[in-house]
Symmetry: C2
Subunit: 144 residues, 2 copies
């Protein structure tokens, strides 16, 4: 199977806001709230990470359910994370800059029993691309 | 400095689409294109990851530039990644599901010399929360 490539081209509109455009023509506005010095025209970067995770778990969740013969009527997600702004603000060199951990509660609407759901969620976690990129090390090569 | 918490609540509208809502009331539509069985109402999960990275590099890029006395007029980003769909599709248990690596080209519009820009980009990379969460392991705790 050939590798699938995804890309965005982003341009800053000010010091907190970018408009990212996908190859398929969608525009994604990323900004910070006013209390963070932003213009609040969109969700912030780390909120998009959580939204991406929910979207990915949904796609894989439905795919795996179908394989297992589970009729999935819908899935709800509550996803949150905490980070220490000190590193990002330049006030600490010790702690990590991003989420220290991410907690996701997944509520599938289906008739599967507990054992089937445990098997389902384990497979979803293993096969979810965004979960993989967060859980495991992913090289990020930044060049000027 | 207290930890900053971010969260989304997401609900599936179909097998490929979720609407994620942030605590600040923004709605983020995540979907897959039609050739992936989706309804193409928004960017897909892994595109949002790249957009989030660009937004985060922008915020930190401006912050670090200000600290260094660099007048930043704007920043452009080209970010891409490749992944092998085999794991996600359930056709391989060997390879990782997500991006194998992410490549970002950052084009700052400023008058800083090369040495200053090298120092700048190194600090940005270290202090960017999204870059941290991708580059390093982040526990993702998924519960039913």
């Amino acid at each position: 199977m050939p590798l699938a490539k995804f890309s965005v081209t982003s341009k800053s509109e000010n010091s907190t806001k970018v408009v990212a455009e996908t190859r398929t023509g969608f525009k994604i506005i990323v900004d910070e709230p006013k209390n963070q010095g932003g213009t609040n025209d969109g969700p912030n970067p780390v909120e998009y990470v959580l939204a991406a995770l929910s979207g990915c778990l949904n796609v894989v969740g439905h795919l795996v359910a179908k394989e297992m013969g589970i009729e999935m009527k819908g899935i709800e997600f509550e996803i949150s994370g905490k980070l220490d702004p000190a590193k990002f603000m330049g006030q600490s060199e010790e702690k990590r800059a991003g989420y220290q951990e991410i907690n996701a509660t997944v509520k599938p609407d289906c008739d599967a029993d507990e054992a089937a759901l445990e098997k389902w969620i384990k497979a979803v976690e293993e096969r979810c691309p965004v979960s993989d990129n967060l859980t495991n090390e992913t090289p990020v090569n930044i060049s000027l």
